[in-house]
Symmetry: C2
Subunit: 215 residues, 2 copies
């Protein structure tokens, strides 16, 4: 709630968190997680207090978790919609759609340039942060339900194979989206492409990957 | 050539390069490319001269290129062997084998812990180094011939789809190998697994990915 005199304290703290998160995401995407200090983030966010990151997020992992959670919540809303369409389906493609489309639709909605996909790819290859963020993602109910639906269609596969292919799908979605986001930001994306087209290519490829015979 | 009195100068320079490359690879894998300064690499390599990286490699990109090229040459030898087996084949799996097996065999030969796969994954997600290294890889004749063989089997696919799936395969191989290498180094790799088994899973998945119908 704002007062006539300006923002109240909780409002201002929330605004500051948003500004810090936006600055951090851009810097992480462009320079890499470990190349960017908390002080640089505070400065890029226009904070006079150079310890603003630890003040507002407790720690750098706290900031990264907040960043990923914010996008995670928005992706959840989109995934709920796809889950309603897929309900009861025994077609792998419907569940792969639930895996891929919420991410590509979210990235499309962010516009160009966006930084989230590259930031997520950095987090996923970071030696310490990756576990924290993968664990966080896997507790999101819409993602859990998507994986359950997918596993029901693929019950003939050994559970270890299913787990491996799930990991591969995660890698493929995250890094393919990061490459496209980078190409868009740098103006090198092929013409006549779109996030929707990328999602279609990813879905085709992942249906093939998940349903491939085990040798 | 060594003399009785010790190494000659070119020998010693070559040895120093090796020591610096080994130190750099380990630091890059464990801490991320951008978290590691050239000074830290020189110190970890036991060099009194803190500018040893630029002295021996011209620049940090020069060091990264040298690292990737050294592994690239070793992988080339293994790939030549698989190419002899695949020669003339019209089976996608034979060409996917030529793509996957040389990498997994090279990593198996490095032993545990190794750092190359994680280092390569870092390079592949680095905003500036990735292009340099992808371009270098694509000029290696055994890889070029592998892709030509694969493309002959998949001539029915639109060229853009083929290019996209090639990118996806690269992402999948690099990041799946990096995850396994990390798990091995940290002692968290599932028991009863091996690089050969990982290669088999990757090959199954990639055959599915490459041959998937285009919607």
């Amino acid at each position: 709630m704002s007062t006539a005199a300006g923002s109240t304290r909780p409002d201002r703290a929330a605004e500051t968190r948003q500004v810090i998160m936006a600055a951090a995401e851009r810097l992480f995407a462009e320079h890499g997680l470990s190349a960017v200090s908390s002080r640089q983030i505070a400065e890029a966010a226009g904070q006079r207090n150079v310890t603003a990151v630890s003040y507002h997020f407790g720690s750098r992992p706290g900031l990264v978790r907040a960043l990923m959670a914010r996008h995670g919540e928005q992706v959840d809303v989109l995934r709920e919609r796809h889950l309603r369409t897929a309900a009861g389906s025994t077609d792998v493609r419907d569940w792969v759609d639930c895996l891929v489309r919420p991410t590509s639709e979210h990235l499309a909605a962010l516009g160009t340039p966006s930084w989230h996909a590259r930031c997520a790819a950095q987090v996923m290859t970071d030696p310490t942060l990756r576990v924290l963020v993968i664990d966080e993602a896997l507790t999101r109910p819409p993602l859990t339900r998507t994986l359950e639906g997918l596993h029901r269609c693929l019950a003939h596969l050994p559970s270890q194979v299913l787990a491996e292919r799930g990991d591969m799908a995660r890698q493929l979605i995250v890094h393919t989206c990061a490459e496209r986001e980078r190409a868009l930001a740098e103006g090198t994306a092929p013409p006549h492409t779109s996030w929707e087209r990328t999602a279609g290519s990813l879905t085709d490829a992942l249906v093939g990957l998940f349903t491939a015979p085990v040798s």
